[in-house]
Symmetry: C2
Subunit: 629 residues, 2 copies
């Protein structure tokens, strides 16, 4: 599968774009005309620059308002084409994209358009060039690839072919099986883009909301499988118009694009009749059985506070590392590691981010395979020296720089715990709080990194994303989206902050980057847990009494239950499957906190309660004055 | 006209919202339920807080999914209502908003809904409360105010009335004249919101894109006039859901809201049959005849550079202030004032923003009237001491803190120049460059201030706004919108920067705020001007040669013309009215620059050229290294 991306998809000036595209591993690049026009160098210079990066120019685009012009405009239109051909020859590319005419003066007519393309094909052939025709979803007369294909067929010229674009086809809900009957040699190139499903004007949607395959809601995989079924094995090229990407970092947008194509190729090669597609095999997406541990990097001083909170939550120290200043605190199947080493990655992370949950271990079906898949999907491997005889766990870097360890299965975790650690006895007086396992890990990320995280998790692990939800913080909107697997053994909530005055935004600003902002633990009995926490001196987050009057009326709760919820500061929600109870700690440091949930078949994450939880957290943070590092 | 705003419209926690709303001058406030629920105080506390601010609670909202529920849900629905009534009585408000049912189980049926409302009216009456019914544009059965009104009519209960909302009516393009036949006493309250015209899902549009009346494209004025024609003179209340506002500063959003209502009232009172509306009369929008001068604040050192550039542009020093370090440079009808005073407002501005064009004078039909209108529209007046005998010019603060002087007419300007200034002779050798007048003033503003500026200019001056255009900077999208009047004697372009890596964003970041980033001057002969500039040693902005090949092909230009454009670095555009020529200087300081344009009946601003101009400016700025203050 040959990969390409249009220069318009990423930010920066042309040299910066090309460097990012090459570095991300693409094979080719579409030169978007404006990027070339704004560049202060000749077409030859641009061509050389592209080739010096080891890239091929897959396409020059766009050539607009060509076919079906009235006689008065026709000559000028061909003159314009000849000028583009001049540039293409100097650039060193043989393919131009002609998008369907949107001019109010264009006349329409399949045969008229076919005749125009025949003539253009003749002119292109003289120069050894080729012309690709693409139906824009908002073309005046041609807005369906089936009609564009009919024009190409009738033009009957070997230098004229079809260009398919997933957005133009999928946005109009055109049957993708109509692609399967197109001869592969008449498909000159295939462009790909995804988009979130929002019902709006097609042009506006296309100009502002496109994103990388797998980041949106369109069936780009099915589209690509239909293309592959024709035997097509040419370039798949990303053409993404997105305001967020235009303002983002060229390198990370290009890297996302490359990952999206690799992931797409892997999905498509598993579909029937796609054997022509040359895609390297890679292991299946890793099945995640649970979170083995979450590790905090901290120092001795902060660790005392952190451990104090963990104990109020019913955690006991159960093990200490044989050679490092690393302890394990455990309850049920939850292991929290506190690392106060003064060297190594944890300490480096502490130096930048302060005390934080900088690593988590995922228990997967096969750690080696999961690691191989992650590497195939451009994830950055991580390793650091371990003492002789100690267990080395494969690990990858998350998007923001945090770590994800990959543990084989529970016995592998057992081996790590047994070999590297010695059992410890916690002498503190702690009442067990019935916490069973990690329900979800909540990561706070910069809004413009959300899609990167989403693609990272969904492409490497067997997970799916849920629809994006707006969470209202008093200081702005926070976008929230969940990555989860079918069994619920992995649940990650991503909260994207757009401004630093929100709780999430403050966390990112103070932590100098994305990170885990809260951990939610499961209990089978929220009230028994609340009682145990009280005995341990835990201070729950205070929820406004007004909330309880509403929740009682909204769900028709027994007033006695409402009173218990209110007394314990427990939030309540319900969906069509069951009930949900949530109990929060206050914040620690720059906004880290803990949550305890009881799920009675409930499948969501209490989104309707988020506004009240955030208001309460912000209120609780305020009296403490300025945040401490 | 009684003004109100829903707490959901602005950012912050409830006390902060109320303070901002009161400070902006509103009479009342709608309490949005979530704001109350998240607040840690009793309903009585909230009511007291509102009244302590001198505000009235106009409405408690929303009460959802009420009418037409099946028997199995009906009792719970009424129980929910009773709970809201409890809260309302404690809050101290008598009106609740019931929005049309969106529940999938709701049954529909006009008479069923009317019966439900009759019963709710009975219950409300017992407590002295009132119920208002509003048709949501996406209600399951009721999504048209005409149907909602039929339900209210059939309910026939004096405690049940209609709530109108401009967004719900205008978004569905419902005939607003249908409002004129509704009895005014059955309209319990009127909510107002505007929105940009983008074709999209109504709920998504409403949740994210609403804005203040006058800031969008809906005919809120006609809607309000139709309401006023009924004789309604109750509250007009803003209910705005907007992501940008949620993340903005509560004070400025509230101030915009108040200005929008004052402006709306003024427009509506001029419509026929609206005499029942109690709106204080104010002068007409000021007609602007031109820009009298633009004033730069600077110091002696920077002034030398600035004056050097002005001279290369063909400006001569023509006058010096009698008592201050202030000089006038003139060419044609363009006056640029250079102020190097070491005290006063100009100097204070210089201390914060560095050298900048901090003030402009608009020549209006009647300065006193214009000033009175600006004050009526919440603009902040400005004055500072002048020496005895000198002219005091009325002035207002712009949104960002810059100044706008209001000059009566040209003779008034003449008087100011004559009394305060002495003629001066510029001894430098300067070739006149045929510059005639200021074509447009380009202001760069933070993106979230754009609507504020737009409302400021359009409400005070006889101007209109043009559609927003996306300008592509290599580092992100810049939104551009023009404020202009019919004669073209006032043209202001607003460029809203979303990130600081764009040229516009850099300017704002370095200047610590919005400001004038460039001035465009008119010439009648761009080539003669270019020649004169060359003689003066002016260094034009270098445009990539690639641009000219494209422009020649695109417009079918005579190659000789293309060569001249290229030789002089002149950009070219054309619209259905005529041709446009643009010549730019490089940047000065943090990104300030000059433009010279020749309009041959052309009406736009060269938006298609912006991408090339920005790329060239950024390239030119780079070698200079770090920006100097």
């Amino acid at each position: 599968m040959k990969t390409s991306i249009a220069t318009v998809s990423i930010s920066g000036e042309l040299p910066e774009k090309l460097e990012a595209i090459a570095k991300a591993g693409f094979d080719g690049v579409e030169i978007f005309e404006n990027d070339f026009l704004a560049f202060d160098g000749s077409p030859g210079d641009v061509g050389k620059m592209v080739r010096d990066h080891g890239l091929e120019i897959t396409l020059f685009q766009p050539f607009r308002d060509f076919e079906g012009m009235p006689a008065s405009h026709r000559q000028r239109t061909f003159d314009r084409a000849e000028r583009k051909f001049d540039v293409m020859q100097e650039l060193g590319t043989d393919l131009v994209l002609v998008c369907s005419n949107v001019s109010p003066v264009s006349l329409g007519g399949i045969d008229r358009a076919a005749a125009d393309f025949y003539e253009l094909g003749e002119r292109a052939a003289k120069r050894g060039l080729r012309v690709g025709y693409e139906a824009l979803a908002w073309g005046k007369h041609i807005n369906d690839h089936r009609d564009a294909w009919e024009i190409v067929r009738r033009a009957g010229h070997s230098n004229v072919g079809l260009i398919l674009d997933s957005f133009h086809t999928l946005s109009r809900k055109i049957d993708i099986n109509s692609i399967r009957s197109i001869p592969k040699d008449k498909i000159f190139i295939v462009q790909l883009a995804d988009a979130p499903l929002i019902d709006m004007d097609l042009l506006y949607w296309s100009r502002h909301f496109r994103n990388m395959p797998g980041e949106g809601d369109l069936s780009v995989t099915d589209f690509t499988a239909a293309v592959a079924a024709t035997g097509y094995d040419g370039y798949f090229s990303l053409e993404i118009f997105n305001d967020q990407f235009r303002g983002g970092q060229a390198r990370s947008i290009a890297a996302d694009g490359h990952r999206s194509l690799i992931y797409l190729g892997d999905q498509v090669r598993r579909a029937p009749s796609t054997e022509s597609l040359t895609v390297a095999a890679m292991p299946n997406r890793a099945s995640v059985e649970g979170v083995g541990f979450v590790e905090f990097s901290t120092d001795e001083e902060d660790a005392a506070d952190l451990i104090g909170i963990l104990r109020t939550l019913g955690f006991r120290k159960t093990a200490a590392h044989r050679s490092k200043k690393v302890s394990i605190f455990q309850q049920g199947d939850i292991r929290l590691i506190v690392n106060t080493e003064e060297k190594g990655f944890a300490n480096a992370s502490f130096a930048v981010h302060g005390t934080s949950a900088y690593a988590m271990a995922l228990i997967v079906d096969d750690a080696k395979q999961a690691f191989a898949r992650a590497e195939a999907l451009d994830a950055e491997p991580f390793s650091q020296p371990v003492a002789a005889g100690e267990v080395e766990i494969p690990a990858i870097r998350g998007v923001g720089g945090g770590l994800i360890y990959l543990l084989d299965d529970k016995s592998d975790l057992g081996r790590f715990l047994e070999i590297d650690f010695l059992p410890a006895e916690d002498e503190a007086e702690i009442t067990p709080a019935h916490l069973l396992r990690i329900d979800h890990v909540a990561q706070t990320v910069a809004y413009d990194e959300m899609l990167t995280w989403l693609l990272f998790y969904t492409s490497i692990f067997q997970t799916h994303k849920t629809p994006m939800v707006d969470i209202i913080d008093p200081a702005g909107v926070v976008r929230s989206q969940v990555i989860e697997n079918a069994s619920g053994s992995l649940r990650i909530t991503l909260n994207g902050a757009e401004n630093r005055r929100t709780l999430a935004g403050h966390f990112i600003a103070e932590k100098f980057g994305s990170g885990i902002q809260h951990l939610a633990f499961d209990t089978n009995d929220i009230f028994a847990t609340a009682e145990a926490l009280r005995k341990n001196g835990f201070r729950p987050l205070h929820i406004s009494p007004n909330y309880y009057g509403d929740v009682e009326a909204r769900f028709g709760l027994d007033p006695e239950l409402t009173e218990r919820l209110k007394a314990e500061n427990i939030l309540y929600d319900r969906d069509e499957h069951g009930e949900y109870f949530q109990l929060y700690s206050g914040t620690y440091g720059e906004g880290f906190f803990f949550e305890i949930v009881e799920r009675r078949n409930y499948r969501g994450y209490g989104a309707p309660n988020a506004i009240f939880r955030i208001a309460a957290l912000k209120k609780q943070m305020r009296p403490e004055g300025l945040p401490k590092k």
